[in-house]
Every structure is written in structure tokens, then in C-alpha cells.
Symmetry: C2
Subunit: 497 residues, 2 copies
Amino acid sequence: MGAKAPDAYAELLDHVQQLSYVADAGGLLRWDQQVMMPDGGTPARSKQQSALSTLHHDLLTDDDLADSLAELEAVDLEPEQQAVVREVSREHERARNVPRDLVERISETTSEALPVWEQARADDDFESFAPVLEELVELRREYAEAIDPDRDPYEVLFEEFEPYLGLDTAERILERLRDELVPLIDDVADSGVTQPLPFEGTFDVDDQEALVREALDELGFDWNRGRLDTSAHPFTSGTQFDARITTRFDEEKPLDSLSSTIHEFGHATYSLGLPDDHYGTPLGESRDLTVHESQSRLWENHIGRSQAFWEYFMPTVEDHLGVGASAEDAYRSVNRVYDDNLIRVEADELTYHMHIVLRFEIERALIGGDLDVSEVPHVWNDKMEEYLGVRPDTDAEGCLQDIHWTNGTFGYFPTYSLGSVLAAQLYDAADAEIGPFDDTVRAGEFDALHEWLTENVHQHGKRYPTEDLIEEATGETYTADYFLEYVTEKYGSLYDL
Amino acid sequence: MGAKAPDAYAELLDHVQQLSYVADAGGLLRWDQQVMMPDGGTPARSKQQSALSTLHHDLLTDDDLADSLAELEAVDLEPEQQAVVREVSREHERARNVPRDLVERISETTSEALPVWEQARADDDFESFAPVLEELVELRREYAEAIDPDRDPYEVLFEEFEPYLGLDTAERILERLRDELVPLIDDVADSGVTQPLPFEGTFDVDDQEALVREALDELGFDWNRGRLDTSAHPFTSGTQFDARITTRFDEEKPLDSLSSTIHEFGHATYSLGLPDDHYGTPLGESRDLTVHESQSRLWENHIGRSQAFWEYFMPTVEDHLGVGASAEDAYRSVNRVYDDNLIRVEADELTYHMHIVLRFEIERALIGGDLDVSEVPHVWNDKMEEYLGVRPDTDAEGCLQDIHWTNGTFGYFPTYSLGSVLAAQLYDAADAEIGPFDDTVRAGEFDALHEWLTENVHQHGKRYPTEDLIEEATGETYTADYFLEYVTEKYGSLYDL
């Protein structure tokens, strides 16, 4: 049997690579749709994407793959080969249990849901969206039951986005964030400290674009393997050979494009740090959403919102935007905690996580059947008041603000906070090992940090489950200690606590 | 059996649509590679494209499709359904006879050939390219024999690009062009007439871009279903929902970008005129290369190089480029016949076809085994001297100038001339039916011509074989009469013959 292993493994790799290449082609079609495609192209693009999805599903669930996997499970393999088999088996099993017609119904319903949600949000009319949301909740419950009828359906959905850390860990982390951040947010509100606002006014979009391009240059973006474009919602797409960032520009919010670009830059560095020679296999793919979000948050927050960065970068901002603020004022401004913060994507590093806790609690109750769709608006508003001390006047600024549920996505939100928590842990480990970074950031030197992240995170692809990857990188199990220490110190200092 | 027809036909359509959607996804990947992709993306893109090609080949040759086709051939179908079956059968049969490993060998050899050809052309070193060319000729001969061992292999290859008109028609047309154009070109050379050159100098690329965008506006390009970008070699790509043009700018040749844009606009109007509701089936696809090239040549030459167009458009050119020539001088300039014309893509409407005749004769002899690869350079140069009265000093300006053979493409060149000939026939029919166009072109009105072309050509997709489509549109069989009449009159007048 040992003699057959290489053949079966080679067949598996070949099959898996075809799968990846088709998935990446689909990724390009989505990028193009959001960045380049003329509006009239939508009907054809939907069909092209659906054809690729169907082919992908067929390749992922086919009998040849099942046979190769069965054969390989009985064979001695190298650790890297074991990792590949583990990852492919997991995806194969999940997909194989889901009836093709359910996949198609979910795809159709989410397509139909998008314009309904857009209209409901524009009209501040939750009731017109409620039946669609109900259907999506029902379909996802069915989907989770198809994958594993014996487990909490929300847990099954959550594992689509974070397959290894476990829902119990997510729950523990989010509860701890809630318990420790709510009083800190209260203290900030009560501090009486206000931050300066040197970036008021309107700023030319071309100047903003020149600024973010220079920021990418300085941070070390590899333009030979990437692009920057604009889209309605910023995102990152691509592979280790071609990682593309988008941003958006608002004349009145010049720093939003900068921080969103640095956030997406973090995602792109992860893609670009994956090993070239494992392209198309799990060893050349990123380790899901918690780790991905840790990379974007690390660059956005631990670098892009640090005092050292603003000491280094403020002259460049001044060159492009003509704002003559001190580095200290700029730093204080970009870290301002808003007391009327209703919108998740505009939130600071503290209140952000309350937006996530609230969504996590609501979507879990929805999928679990403990909350009726009709109750979502008032539960949302009550929790906003409890966690953030502010109550939305409209559902448009409340439970209709995010696109995730409309996309049929439940269980995704927690990875935003899990990623932020991991960012702090990784940053601390890197800082302890090769830092302190303050002086290097102040000098605009980022190579050592890039190298540490590539060596300790990116180059492993999916070789390790999430918790093992974290332990390999930091020497410790996954913990919120570093994040809480970081925000306590940072905001304590900013708000004289 | 009649009762089963609709089911089998629906299955066929579904299968064929999947095929088309995958092909169109591949088309987007190629567009992106030439227009948007950072250089570093090449290795991943090659693999994605190869995966889609393999899936396409598998779908096109699979047994389900063979069964549906066999079932439908025994059934009474509507004419439109018959057309779909005819087109799909043809492609299925061709693909099914070609061994997959031969497809892969051709794909690999052409990938490897590209850099060899680029280097050989740069070094003017035909000998280093000769072994690759020999291999490509051999592979294509094998390919043609796999499809049909009983027919002239060049004929089989030609039918990949023009499946219906027949190689005998191509031969007859090209011989007639050679016989009638060679003396006309001699007369032009002997006329002693020289044309004015008002577009000498350097012209800003941004000004040129503004000019070609305005030209597209004026001609009626649908920006909601299309784009204009730049690439190394101009091309058109896409579907009836999303047709994308590229052009390129040379500071010293401001009219090249204009005429290449109008040429590609012609291709795009064909795509955009295909019926939306047949997207993904042969009824929603263009009728191969002769007809496609007729659309590009019609707009490029019969409109874009006409006196009426320059009377209308010269003020716009003046606005953007600052050239103050008369419409008459501009018209004469863009129709100048160069006496030292070595390069096909720079040729005028007369000498262009001698470039094609020469390539047709050489590639046919190569595939037929009547010409050795080593003889290509001197045969090329001899024919240049015979047909055009000029002998290239280098192979870089001779037999190494085109990319087609390097791409493993033999039998494509004739469609350029066949398309020009058809353009004249279609333009004459439209002009007779709804013209004369001179006054409408002079007034910048193109709607009637668009409508005529859409109604008589575009909307039919692949419903009719080429010769039937031509007869439906013009009321006559395919003929070179109109083209020869057109150039004889036009160049007779320009050169006082």
C-alpha cells in the first residue's frame, strides 16, 4: 500500500489544483464585476459565475476525489501531505453532504435578496426585508443540518469561516471583550476629554489617491504582483502572484481611504506571502478568516493608528492634503472614540467589538431558533443602548446596515473580533522577538515586520490548524490578554483614564 | 420520439450554455491578462486558463452531449433548433476526434514558442525560430489529420476560423485579389502622385485618448455595455452584454489609434448586436471570423477612411490634436499607399491583401508539405518583391513579423481578406437599400447603418451558415466584385488613374 501512496497523492494534488484554479478564475470574475465591468454586463456575469460554481461543486464532491482521499487515509504520509489531505477532506465532506439543489436555492435566494435589502435600507423599511431574511435563516439552518444534523447549526456555519478555533473559543473571547470593553467605553465617555479634528474640510480625490499610493509604496506593496483600484466597498482579492486591493474615496473623509487601504494592504501581504510553489494547494492558501483579519488589523491598527507611524507619515499627509497638523494631533484624531457611533465600519478600535458582539448574539439566536426575525430591530436597538449607550433612530442605521445576512452569511462576524485579538497577540510576539518597533516605524522601516509575519504566518499556508499556527508563531495559546492590554493602555493614555 | 425532443433539446441547451459560460470566463481571464494583470501574475493565470480549457474540452467531448446530439438528429426540430444542433455537432465532432494529449502538446509548444519567436525577431535570427516553427507545423498537421484524415489538412485548419465558405472560395477570392490588385498597385506607384502628410509631429497621448473616446461617442458605442482600454496589441473581447475594446497610442502616429479604435468598434458592434435572449447558445454567438472581420473593416474603411467621414470629423480631430488640415488633405493622408510597405498591420487597403496572399500561399505549402521551413525567408522575400515591388532587408521585417504561426495558428490569415471583401458587399447592399450614406455620414448620423447591420447580420448569430447569411443580407452570393469596384474607384480617384 505504501507504494501506491505517491500515485494517489499526485492524483489528489492534480484534482485539488484544478479546483483551486477554477475558484481563482471565479475570484477574478468577482473582482472584475466590482471594479471594471460595465453595468450592462450583470446578466452574463451572473451566469458565468454560476457555471464556475457548479463546476467547482462537482469537482469538489466527485467520486474520484472521494476514492483518492479514502486511499490516502490508510497510508503513511509526510506531515505536509497529511495537512493537504486533512484540508481537502474537510471541504469535500462538507460539500458532499449538501444537496446540489439546496446550494442552488441559496444562490438564487441571495441574488434575489440583494435588491430587496438595498430598497429596504433606502426606505428604512425593515418589514419589507423580513420575509427574505426569514427565508435565508431557514435555508442556512437546512444547510447546517445537511452538513451535520447532530450539532448546533450556528457552530456548523461558523466553521465555514473559522474551521478550527471552535465556537466555544469565539464565545469565550467575545464575552470577555464585552465584559472588559463596556466599562472602558463608559470611562472614555465620562472622561470629558475631546480629541482634536485637524482633518475637517473637503479634500480632492486625486490628492487622496496619490497619498494612499505613496502609503503603499512606503509600506512595501509589491506592484509587480498587485494593483490598487476603487470600488463601492473596499476588498482584497487574488493569490500570491497577483493580489489586488480596492479602496474608495470620500472628499470629506480623507483618512478613511488611507486606513481602509492600509487594512486591505494587510490582507494583500498575507496573500503575497503564501509560498509560490504550493500555489493551487492548501499549503499555498491562507488560513481562513481569523488569521486573514489579524493581518489586516495588525497593519491598520498596530501600525497605521500608532503614534510612531504618524510621526513618520504626517509630513507625507501634509504634502498631499495640505493639512498642517502636528503628528500628536493627527494620532489623537485617528483614534477618536465617537460617542454617537452607530455604524460598524466607522467604529474605532474599542466600540467596534461591541458592534460584533451584538451581531453575534443576534445571529446565533436567529439560527438557533431562539429569536424571531420580527424581533431583530428592537433587540438590536436595546443592545446598542446597553453596550454603546446610543439608540439608532432608524433601522437603516441599525439592523439594516450590513450586507452579510443578505448574502446568506451567518457566522462570519465573530472572525472580525477574533482577528483583532490575534493581531495584538502576533504584534506583541513580533515586537518581543525583533522589536521594539517604535523606532523602526518612526523611520519608515517595515521589512523586519514583513519578514517575521511571512516566516511565522504566511509561508505556512493551511499547514497548521489555526490554534497550532498561533502557538507556532507566538509560543502561546490563543488569548485576548494582549489585545485588552493594548487597548487599555492606548485609550487610557488618550483619555487620561 | 417527437415527444422526447423538447427534453433532449433542453438538455442540449443547458449543456451548451455551460460550455459558453466557461468559454466566456476564459475570455475575461485573457482580457484581464492583456489589460489589467500585473506582470507577476503570469504563472497563476496560465494555470487558471489551462484549467478552464481542460474543463471546456471535457464538456465539449463528453458522452452526455454525444447522446443528446444523436437523439436530436433523429427528431423534427424547428429551424432555429436545427441550427443549434448543427453548430454544436460540428464543434463536438471536431473536438472529439482530437486526442487530449495532442491538445495539451499544442498548448505547451505554443507557450514555449512565444519567447523564442520574440527573441528571434529581436535578433533578426530566423534560424533560432525554425525548429519551433517546424514542430508547430507538424503538430497542426497531426491535429488536422485527427479531425479528418481524408481531407487536405490546410482545409481542415482553415475551417476552424471560417467553417462554411470553403477553402475553394477563399482560394478563388485571393487569386482574384492578387490578379487585379497587383496591376493597380503598380499603377499607383507609377502615378507620380504623392499625398499630403498633415499629421507629422508628436501628439500627446491624453489628447489622442480624448479623441478616440469622442469618436466612439459619435459612432454610438454603448458605454453601459462596454469599455475602452489600452493593450500592447489592440483587440476586442466579450459578449452582447459586455464588449470591450482596446487600443494603443503612439505619439508619432495619432491616426493609428483612431483607425484601430474604429476597427475594434466594428467588432464590438457585432458582439453588442447579438440577441440577449440567446446568450450562451450558437444563436447568440457571432458567425466566425469572415463575418466578424467584415464588421470591423466596414467601420474602419468604408466609414473611417471615407471622404464624408473626414468632412464630418476633421473639426473634432483639430480640437483634440491641434492639426489644421483640410478634410480633403486628411482624407488623402489616411488613404496614402506607401511604396515601401513591409509591415502588414501598417498597410493601406490595397497592399494589405498582397500581405495576406503571400502568407496564405506560404502557410498552405508548409502544412501541405510542399515547402520546407528553412525556405520560408527567401520565398517570403521573393513574393514581396513580386507582389509589392519591395524586398525586406531583414526577417524581422519579413517572415518574423506576425505572431500567428507562433500561436500555432495556420489558416487564419485568409479571413482578413475575406472579411474586407464581405465588408464592401454588405456596405453596398446597405447603401443601396437605405442610403446613399454620404450625406448621413457627413452629418454624423450612423443609426440607420447600425440598425441595418443588426437586423441583417448581428441578430442572426450563428443561425445561418456564412454563405446563407450573406445571401439573406445582400440578396446575392458572396463576391469580390464590390470590393474591387470600391478600391478601383477610390484609388483611381486618389491617384489620377
